[in-house]
Amino acid sequence: MLPPLKPIAMKERVSMVFIEKGQIDVKDGAFVVIDETGIRTHIPVGSIACIMLEPGTRVSHHAAALAARAGTLLVWVGEAGVRLYAAGQPGGARSDRLLYQAKLALDDDARLKVVRKMYEIRFGEKPPERRSVEQLRGIEGARVRKLYQLLAKQAGVEWNGRNYDYTQWDNSDTANRCLSSATACLYGICEAAILAAGYAPAIGFIHTGKPLSFVYDIADLFKFDDIVPHAFKIAAKNYPNLEREVRLMCRDVFRQSKILRKIIPTIEEVLAAGELEVPKPAEENIAPAIPNAEGIGDVGHRS
């Protein structure tokens, strides 16, 4: 008999794979995509951070269960990689991490410290003293608009501001479409890393009110280093198959910057800036009767 399947650490994985069409199922215990002519392609599910399922895919119950056991995030994405819905990896397996994150988000002082740390990582300098989160957001917004303009100018693309309207995908300009596709890839791997580290994607510090608020917070820390400049470069070149070029670029950028090694340590660093202790369980709490098995995955992975 084979031992039970356990997730491996996020940093050892390939960033993502997009599956366009086919029936996703399990054959002999392996994750396979079968197209209408019976050709089957094995996806090494356990060594991928997130699997992006595009329109035209059907996932069996068994396949979703296998992805969950391998600790791999399944992300259902719409046309051109704009996200519709995401699920698949059982996150939030660590109550201490969730409580820690919630404690930081609820404590105004700690939250401000975390936001200041995020600001520092993004812009490479400490933000001005004695500003509220609200004021920091204003400063950040202005800097980001300037940054977009500058990077667009460097790449030589026309730029009339970031247009997020996902309901009017075809109306947005090439630069915005490239950016949306690229950030969708980034959000996928950030969400996978956040879940793998045992945190909640919904509890954000700068962003709030969305299921992926914390994902947007963390993705923003990496977005402007490589993703945005490269997305603009692709927009400037007028490729016939824009999304494919963007994905190839993302894969290259993710590999070169070793982003999967960096996301979880960055999350820890940002949260540690809040200077709060990880909460200890109350004394009257009952420890598990059956101790947790040791896994080689990340802390938030169920083993």
Partner: protein
């Protein structure tokens, strides 16, 4: 790291491969050689293949950490998914019609 696996090839090619690589199982050759030597070996596989098929895999700086090439008819053919190289397994009856002898997979 370089691994070559051959199936149904003439003994003289197997003997030739054993000149540079170690045959750790029937038809499975392992070594650690430079890109230049790898290309030289692959061209010899190409020439000596006859009815058989072969695959060569080596470590390189792709996201998977390796890359591979195939030659000859086989039901398994490489496919590329937005920069990630995977393998498609063809049903038995279609193997003949779909498998391209050049070893370049669809897509």
């Amino acid at each position: 790291m370089l691994v070559i696996v051959v199936e149904n090839v003439p003994p003289r090619l197997r003997g030739r491969l054993a000149v540079w690589l170690i045959e750790i199982r029937a038809g499975v050759y392992v070594g650690d050689l430079s890109a230049k030597v790898r290309e030289m070996i692959w061209s010899q596989v190409e020439q000596g293949l006859e009815e058989g098929n072969a695959v060569m895999v080596w470590s390189t700086n792709t996201e998977s950490g390796f890359d591979f090439l195939t030659l000859g008819k086989n039901r398994r053919l490489p496919v590329e998914l937005d920069g990630l190289k995977l393998v498609s397994f063809f049903p038995p009856d279609e193997a003949d019609s779909s498998a391209s002898p050049s070893g370049k997979g669809p897509g």
